[in-house]
Amino acid sequence: MRYFLPLLLTAVLSFGVASSVNAQCKNFTKKECIPTLKPYTYNGQYNNAVLAEGDVAELLLTFHKDQKYRVSVCSEEIIGNVNFKIFDTKHQLIFDQSQNSDQSFWDFVSNATQQLIIQVTVPVEIPKNEVVKTGCVTILVGFLDE
């Protein structure tokens, strides 16, 4: 019995951490990310994860020809501005956000239907902290209905 309470507390706390991170990421996506797609229409698929400094995540998606798209990447302030790059499936670099602007989205149209890879990298803080920071990163895709 003497061990039961700490055990229960640990389990409850752990569950609480997971739930609050879920809620935090959801609210962040809703408030900070979805509005960045305007006037594009959100494609309805939700891609987010809690990433740590130095992590890399990718989204593979087919983009239809002659359709205008906006790719938007946002991250919680604690992990800084994540960089995103877009590659084709031959790994040819199509877009590098760090070389273009500080804006967190990219608008484009492709005249052929093709798959593209959206790669996001969480920057590593220099000087490196002992505690690795983590935060929510969201990748959204919108299209213009014309």
Binding site: L7, H64, T113
Partner: protein, 295 residues
Amino acid sequence: MKWIITFSVLALFWSCQNTTDSGLEDDVEVIETKDTVAEAEHTKTVKKIFYNVPSPIEVSSMLKRSGLTYNADFLNSYKKVDKYNTAEEMAINLGIYGADLSYNRLYDQIQESVNYFSAIKQLSDDLGIPQDQGGMAAERLESNLENKDSLLIIISQTYANADQYLKQNDRGSTAALVIMGGWIEALYIATQIAGLPGDNTELLNSIAEQKWSLENLIGLLNNYKNDEVVSKYLLQLIQLQEAYAKIEIQQSENVVNTNQQEGITTIDNETKINFTSENFIEIMNIVGNLRNGII
């Protein structure tokens, strides 16, 4: 004391595992990818791979561009909504009705849109997706019936919120089935229309190009391949992929051009598609069987 520490570590580990937020722990895939950009010839560990499939709204747009007239016969009747009782049937047909609603919206079929929207609401409720999450208050739709753009936003929000809710509640496989249903229905309608007499070259090319979306869809479903329901559909989609493998699509190198004034970039690329009528009939039959097996 020792076992408390062990449990605490395990509990914390479990907690961290659940912080992927999307509820898609299974889709955390560690792969080695080769970054061939000249200045960065090194391998990186990609922590998470997401797979997205174009929404039925986008796929329906290609039908509109084909210039063909509206035909409700190709759709899955909203009257069948009460027939779907299992979570599997409800999820797949939620996606199917989304594609059908998008098709109706494109052709300004207002009353049909309302009917499909009601069916979607019913399936969404039956799947336990809270209404505030679904963003689909009937009054919102009714007050925006005449506004095509508002309807588009409502459709988009409905599916976005359903996707979000299901993933966050460890029901990622259900979310994947919704997406699969929408994709199959849109492709089914496209193949039915393309099979009609007339010059359907553009539509046929669009159907051939779904080869890429199918890869994405299989990638998405593979995250849940241990789920019995998902694995059943994966087998059928792999059969479709084998038929798609016979289509030759050649693409030239991408050339990127940016219009600074308009702030938009064009990716120029030439594509050659070799899509024979035999290929088309095979795909049409597989898609037809697959779709008719799920409605």
